[in-house]
Symmetry: C2
Subunit: 300 residues, 2 copies
């Protein structure tokens, strides 16, 4: 059997099955970041993202946007846990024939994001490679009582999303800004039951929350905020790399949240969490209910 | 200007120049790992290594040895700081057409090393890629008073090396075992002034210690332990990927160390640290002194 036949999510399940965590780890594979013991009041968050030329970006996008995207994607993962990013390493694979200016631009993109979000570049590795490869390994921290996992959704929860989805393939995947301040506001001021960032697509990532929480959901087409640059509704909810936050909370907390949301970033309630056996369904604008199979962008 | 003309070490210098560390970081770029604030008694160590098919291994070497090498190389970096490895992430790039068994072998190699050295695999990323790429991001810890940097060598120090060097290109780069127990024994029981692991080659890595410490050195051909599988003496001291420890300590500590070394791993005193203006020189078996220019394996 080759990887293409197995698929990315089943490969990750396969890897996870062999892993026994020691008591030093709170959460390993299966959330936006790993969660590790740290101080009395805080957990350490640990995540990595590998971006490869031709898959995640084209060389013609320019080094600056590539650098920006690589660190932003990892910060988005820390945000989705309710945490703050702190330190990161860059592993860079680049062709020996690449112009030095191009490499400088990659690092400038990375540094600009690092500065904006107050994260320290503390090291890395550089190797020669046929394609450009950028791997970010990011450490963050979160107060123990602010940690938000995928697995905490509850029946009756309302489902929210920040910003607009869709249009990643049309260029938004290079220009997004991670929702760190929104996530920290949520974690600090509300009881968030579950949260994830949209990297595989809304349907797939809400599916990750529901799978981890052993629940189902109904979402409403009329309430899902679609970016103007999206090709169409179906591609917008499946494509991935939106890096918006999807989260769930009780009806009461939801009411309090919508009444007090202080950001210009759009906030939308898009559905409700229900029992697992009801599965995941989408109510179309015409009122018809469609069953959704969680699936999104997969690498294989 | 292209990267090939600049060279790897000058690229790293160039990157490092733009970086301002916050007070949360003790040491950034310029040692085997980054050193970060952690608990009252310990520092956090943070390092990454990217291995690429065709540069660091061939597909015909088999997944198991590739997996083993990737984690072992990062553990070697933590060892060279005097620390203990704790948690790691694997970013894996693999062709969608790759056999699943091959990927299982990579993870089996990684897991076997993780088990041996008591490190937890806590997450990662999987992406499709033309070549096989393995990036390891590893976290470790070290007691504050056991931390060993490259920059602490002192004039008059004796220079030691573990094991044998050379023969990496002949296959040893895939089968080495990181010198973790030796490094921990050294850090716990002796005052080690400086330490590094030999990844770029003995001449280059001793050069890194001397550069950071602003000193020179004399090493003796007759005392340098060369592996039987090495092509010749010159290639052995320049090739890299030996993953042995090079360290310096005072003459008194050196005497105490050679009298009490408890491991079967060979320990060799290969030279002395001297003033910077004397540079780095090699005394050949015939007694002739040659000036050495620190240079080793470079990726560009």
């Amino acid at each position: 059997m080759i990887l293409k036949d197995l698929g990315e999510f089943r490969l990750i399940d396969r890897i996870a099955r062999h892993i026994k965590l020691s008591s030093r780890s709170i959460k390993g594979i299966g959330d936006d970041t790993a969660v590790l013991r740290y101080t009395e009041k805080k957990y350490l968050l640990f995540t990595c993202d590998m971006l490869i030329e031709g898959r995640h970006f084209l060389r013609t996008s320019g080094g600056y946007l590539i650098g920006k995207k690589s660190l932003s994607a990892s910060i988005s993962d820390i945000a989705a846990m309710g945490g703050e990013p702190r330190f990161f390493l860059v592993s860079l694979g680049v062709p020996a024939s690449l112009n030095l200016k191009y490499v400088d631009c990659i690092y400038r993109g990375i540094r600009d994001v690092a500065k904006k979000f107050n994260v320290d570049l503390v090291g890395g590795d550089t190797v020669s490679s046929g394609n450009i490869i950028v791997n970010i390994a990011l450490l963050g921290e979160v107060e123990k009582n602010k940690l938000v996992l995928r697995s905490g959704a509850k029946e009756g929860d309302e489902i929210f999303i920040t910003g607009f989805i869709g249009g990643a393939a049309e260029g938004r995947h290079l220009t997004f800004s991670p929702r760190l301040k929104e996530a920290r506001y949520l974690a600090r001021n509300f009881k968030i039951h579950s949260m994830i960032d949209v990297s595989d697509g809304l349907v797939a990532d809400l599916g990750h929350i529901l799978g981890s929480s052993k629940l189902g959901a109904v979402i409403y087409e009329r309430d899902i905020p679609i970016s103007k640059s999206a090709k169409n509704f179906k591609s917008a909810i499946k494509e991935g790399e939106d890096f918006e936050l999807v989260f769930t909370m009780s009806r009461g907390e939801g009411k309090r949240l919508t009444a007090s949301w202080p950001f210009s970033t759009r906030l939308s309630k898009i559905g409700e969490v229900c029992r697992r056996r009801k599965g995941m369904s989408l109510v179309r604008k015409n009122g018809k209910k469609e069953s959704m199979i969680p699936g999104g962008y997969t690498h294989f």
